[in-house]
Point group: C2
Chain length 168, copies 2
DNA sequence: TCCAAACCCTTGGATGTCCTAGTATATTGC
DNA sequence: GCAATATACTAGGACATCCAAGGGTTTGGA
């Protein structure tokens, strides 16, 4: 890891905003920038843990999603909706997972437009092992205090609902 | 925007984790996944606002950073450290900003290895306009309650310090 | 003094994301 | 029943990020 900076760059940005008279939006700017940076840190940790398995986070997410589906299979469009990524991103991930023998495409029994993604036995095994690694090496040492985890879930849950992710 | 899902996919993932007995890491998993998704939503909003200016978020960040530097110029490696991205990402952003006439490269007066990035007058003007747009269209309507903004800044600030971003 | 180690930036390659457009299949409405 | 519309997936292109490697510049110890 690089040497820590002497000062928090986001706190500095906030001061700059306030100095320019944008006081009312300085705090939200700092919060949003902090989310960006935190995501970057977490993603790097996750990718580091997944690398030995030959997986990226995008591919892992798809694998994990399939492993929780009763039948171990999902239509592409369903996966796209649940993972909340663009359909082309799913196509890309499936291409690579298929090439690695972790999933396979099969035609939908009744809808000729739809392609089902199916977990292979190998894919199911790898998903299990990768999940165990993420659980112990990332989630169990998240770096967030327990009550802060609850706060994050609450705050970000409200945000995502307002953003139109889900209605519930 | 896509139709909202009937249920929160992250809450469902958390239930799946608990069902598999990973109860102790289910909450951090949910919090981290929520951060990933929130970042995605915010980035899309920001990119949408910046698009009319011909800017991406990465390029805007660099432009904004330069606009707050006294002299309007910074060494590449300094920018890389402050933005906390890989040096090649800065090279890439500078290439495009330079091509757009918003910044220019100049040699460091005393260190032949270093390249200074300098804001052009056009770059300075565009940075101002883009910041005004982001302030009014994103930061002023962040979708976070005021006290939640403070919570986020506190929680993520602690996280980033522990992750080694800064020592302060 | 001088050469090895450290540092700075760039190039090339891999991955992921999105958008636009195109092809194929279903569904809807007249 | 058939044409128009909607839906599903894929191909190609633009961007951003990182890593590995390479070439030029500085620094520091022998």
């Amino acid at each position: 890891m690089a040497t820590p900076l002497p000062r928090d760059p986001i706190a500095d940005a906030r001061l700059n905003w306030e100095r320019h008279g944008w006081t009312d939006v300085a705090a939200p700017m700092a919060a949003i920038t902090a989310i960006m940076r935190t995501q970057q840190i977490l993603l790097a940790r996750i990718e580091g843990v997944l690398k030995p398995f030959g997986l990226t986070f995008a591919r892992y997410e798809l694998l994990a999603l399939l492993s929780f589906a009763r039948s171990g299979a999902l239509p592409m469009n369903k996966a796209s909706a649940l993972l909340q990524v663009h359909p082309t991103s799913v196509t890309n991930a499936v291409d690579r997972l298929q090439q690695a023998g972790l999933v396979l495409r099969s035609p939908h029994p009744t809808d000729g437009r739809t392609t089902l993604i199916e977990l292979t036995q190998e894919g199911r095994t790898l998903a299990k092992r990768a999940t165990a690694a993420l659980n112990s090496e990332v989630f169990a040492q998240s770096g967030f205090a327990e009550q802060d985890v609850d706060q994050l879930i609450r705050i970000l849950g409200t945000f995502r609902r307002n953003a139109g992710d889900f209605s519930e």
